[in-house]
Amino acid sequence: MYIDTDFLIIGGGTAGCWAALNFRKYSDARVLIAEKADIKRSGCLAAGVNALNAYIAPGKKPQDYVDYARADAEGIARGDLLLTMAEGLNRAAGKLEELGLTILKDEHGQYVTRGWRNVKINGENIKPILAKAVLARKNITVLNRVNVFEYIVKDNRILGAYAIAVDEPVMYVISAKAVLCATGGASGLYKPNHPGFSRHKLWYPPFNTGAGYAMGIRARAEMTTLEMRFIALRCKDTIAPTGTLAQGVGAKQINSAGEVYEDKYGITTSQRLHGTVMENLSGRGPCYLKTKGITKEQEMDLVKAYLNMAPSQSLRWLESGQLPSVKNVEIEGTEPYITGGHAAAGYWVDTNRKTTVRGLFAAGDVAGGCPQKYVTGALAEGEIAARAAAKYMGEKTPQLNTNEAEAVKQFLEGSGGVNVSFTVDDLEEEMQAVMDKYAGGIGTSYRFSEASLKIADEKIQELEKQSNLISATDMQELVYLLELKERLTLCRSLIVHLSVGKETEYYINSRLENGRISVILRPLVREGEVYEH
């Protein structure tokens, strides 16, 4: 099926929905959101969120946020991106409230902040609120249950994208003047904490498979900082966030002997994790957040807070009867995720969030160089990208070549074609085991070496070949197969980034050239500069 639009947004999540809403301010061209699930509850916000983690409290300035986020990323973050994002954080929070989000206020009508960067909300319904606003706009068309898997690019200029319906055998050829990639980050590259029945009990949505990264890598877009993986410290088993316990009720990190170890290692996000890994390695694990002794009232507020964002943790407490006032909460590190929302991994963009492919923009977790975006930062980036895309509309786009679309269709139909004894699930499990063992997963306490990365690279390339042999039996299978290939593509680039080693004066970037991932080192960009490709 052929569809023609002006501004195609791939992924109707946080950044995608916001870009659609804001694009209307700058242009009356047509907008189409292509979303693999349903925008009402898709992506990171599906279960709800705990707070707005990026906000600038009175007395602080956007520059303070830049300084904080860059220091946390050990200097490897773009000043221009952080500053332009930080300037939009509070506006985004205000808009969310207008749309119906509950934000906690004091008696003077001011938002109640936790620290200077965080406002308290009821985030259970944040995604339905966003979706409702999008659906109320007439000029925004939403295509739900449509999985985008390839860009259409000619002479380094984007012309649209290929997609398939999740439920029926339909292929879409979407042509557009400008495209925004807002597919979120990637989970499922590494073996998870619980690889059995609960293998999808991850922190990051298992359905954000890294499609945006993979499509970009294949289209030879430049990527940045993939080596900065995000490893979360989470409640054991349920993989629910721990910040609510640590910052909310002041629970300290303790080891099995009851000693507080967070003072020894520090309390930045990465230090909290590092400390836990070290305590475990030194035989002083398991580790806990010390909640024992909190009041019954605090406990009930925690049960409610978790119901609003990670209901599995509340279920754990309620079914076991061992609530946090009587039992400390065991914690563990997750497998690594790739995201530009917490870390800085993603597309290399200019200050306006334009990628190195003409007409292609990126925002949210898939966009690199700008860590600690969280919800409001993803919104702010969606707004910046929408403005830039609207400006770009004027350029004339060449016609699509329909013969190429026919070839893609044949590729999908004939995918594989040989009878093989392994399945998509088999290869996915193997990929995760390879990454775990040789590219620094949970199993090696996140460590790797030059030699192990070399093995990882060989094995991932082998798996890529095998994935080409599999045929899908229905549309759902085909989606899973495409997702596996996306993850393998991303794994390859990730391994290259990890092998470069640590840089402090440069960003590690990469691009596909003649079938190989080549590395580009780029000098640091400061705030106040406008970066152009």
């Binding site: 699930a37 349903d38 599906a46 619980h194 293998r199 909310g248 119901l307 599995s312 309620l318």
Partner: protein, 103 residues
């Protein structure tokens, strides 16, 4: 972590199937089913969307589940979350979506 669908309560309205962020819920003989329960993220979107409380969330044995089933009922801005244990004992926690989290 996964869900269970009670076919005696399911009216086949299809809402859960549309809402699941992983498109995991399908239809078989006019009832909602989850062919791959191990693919569930546990986000609870479907249990909130189901008008007949036909869907329950549970913790898999591999992550220490004890057989409790969690359902939720919506009443205006209120969400009533109930955990029912195998011995039929249950507890309910009610949240008003107009109240912000304390933490």
């Amino acid at each position: 972590m996964s869900i269970e669908i009670r076919h005696d309560l399911c009216t086949a309205c299809g809402r859960c199937s549309l809402i699941c962020p992983g498109s995991l819920i399908k239809f078989k003989e006019k009832k909602a089913v989850i062919p791959h329960p191990e693919r569930c993220w546990g986000c609870a979107s479907c249990i909130k969307e189901c008008p007949s409380e036909a869907i329950a969330l549970f913790l898999g044995r591999d992550i220490g589940g004890l057989g409790g089933r969690m359902t939720v009922r919506r009443e205006g801005s209120l969400l009533h979350w109930t955990v029912t244990m195998p011995d039929s004992s249950s507890q309910t926690v009610t949240i008003n979506s107009r109240d912000a989290n304390k933490y």
